[in-house]
């Protein structure tokens, strides 16, 4: 293991870098805002939205959906660069089908966990 100082610097670097990624989007909106919107205190939805052209706004919303589903697929199917096994994706698949059938959210989530746990109980990894 490394020294305490190195550990602290690395944790600080991860925290600051992550915050920079997070704050970049909201700041981008501010900088791109037209000058007449500048004086607005706590600009609401409309004020902040004025910045980017609509097509880019739509593309970014789609991008967020694409990223989220990529996170779903990766966390459901893979574990540390390998296959996650049967139980987890099976649970997620059952949950996904139930959600598509408009079953209440809480049932969807608990069913996903129950299927994965049940399969493991039966010896299916």
């Amino acid at each position: 293991m490394s020294t305490l100082t190195q550990l602290l610097i690395a944790i600080g670097g991860l925290a600051i870098g992550t915050f920079a990624f997070r704050v970049a989007g909201p700041l981008l909106g501010k900088n791109a805002k037209s000058p007449d919107g500048e004086g607005e205190p706590c600009a609401g939805a409309e004020g902040e939205r004025r910045g980017l052209p609509p097509w880019l706004e739509a593309l970014m919303s789609r991008g967020a959906v694409v990223l989220l589903i990529a996170v779903v697929a990766s966390t459901a199917l893979t574990e540390e660069q390998g296959f996650a096994g049967i139980a987890r994706p099976a649970g997620v698949l059952v949950g996904g089908v139930l959600a598509w059938l408009k079953v209440p959210f809480i049932v969807v989530i608990l069913a996903a966990a129950a299927v994965a746990a049940g399969l493991r109980l039966m010896g299916v990894a």
């Binding site: 690395a10 990529a70 893979t78 987890r88 949950g95």
Partner: protein, 224 residues
């Protein structure tokens, strides 16, 4: 905060509470794992508060514990967290200015973003984002702290199928956004790219590469 509560219906508030609770339980296992790998209790807790991104924290702890350098672990964590940049553009309308921009950016994560996207009206998007984000800001570090205190006796939460809950939460909430055919194409292409490249690339890269799927939505989007 009080007006945010009133904006959302009870079922949505209950769903957010469920997700925060589930994150808290995963936090328990994260704290326990970190301590069992030889970290002092403050490490997972400080990471949980200051980074507030579960996947990156688990990766950081895992790399350092397996003998990797802390700076390699930092770089890996940053790569995993780079997706927050496009997230920030997508949800920037729900984040105010001043201190709200600081706190709102910090509580931006997969769950708060997906809850925001699942709402149509501007005020509900905002309320869902903030309540979920602040809820996780509380539940995740508390879970990590308690888990670290209890330590090894927690065992593997995978036994309860908790690992299947997180992807299901995101999937269930994002489903309504998939009505548009071109979005569906982009999403499927992106997911295939992400999974197919996972064995080959460092953690974080595959998810970012999923954005290539957006070319399927090009058509009417000038120059993109």
């Amino acid at each position: 905060m009080r007006s945010l509560w009133r904006t959302l219906s009870r079922p949505i508030l209950r769903n957010i509470a469920l997700v925060c609770l589930a994150d808290g339980v995963v936090g328990l296992s994260y704290g326990a794992i970190a301590v069992s790998k030889g970290f002092e209790l403050w490490v997972p807790v400080v990471l949980a508060i200051a980074v507030l991104a579960g996947a990156a924290e688990l990766l950081f702890v895992g790399i350092v514990a397996s003998g990797g350098s802390v700076f390699a672990a930092m770089a890996a964590g940053l790569l995993v967290n780079a997706r927050h940049l496009p997230f920030g553009v997508a949800v920037r309308d729900v984040i105010g200015s001043g201190w709200r921009r600081v706190l709102g950016s910090h509580v931006m994560n997969d769950e708060s973003v997906v809850f925001a996207l699942s709402q149509q009206q501007a005020d509900k998007r905002k309320a869902a984002f903030w309540i979920c984000g602040v809820g996780i800001l509380i539940c995740w570090p508390v879970g990590a702290f308690v888990g670290g205190l209890i330590g090894g006796s927690i065992g593997d939460t995978d036994v309860f199928g908790l690992d299947a809950m997180f992807p299901t939460v995101l999937l269930a909430l994002v489903l309504p956004s998939l009505k548009d055919r071109r979005t569906r194409l982009a999403v499927i292409a992106g997911a295939v790219i992400a999974v197919a490249t996972t064995p080959l690339l460092p953690a974080g890269m595959p998810v970012l590469l999923s954005l290539i799927g957006l070319i399927f939505t090009a058509g009417k989007n000038r120059g993109s």
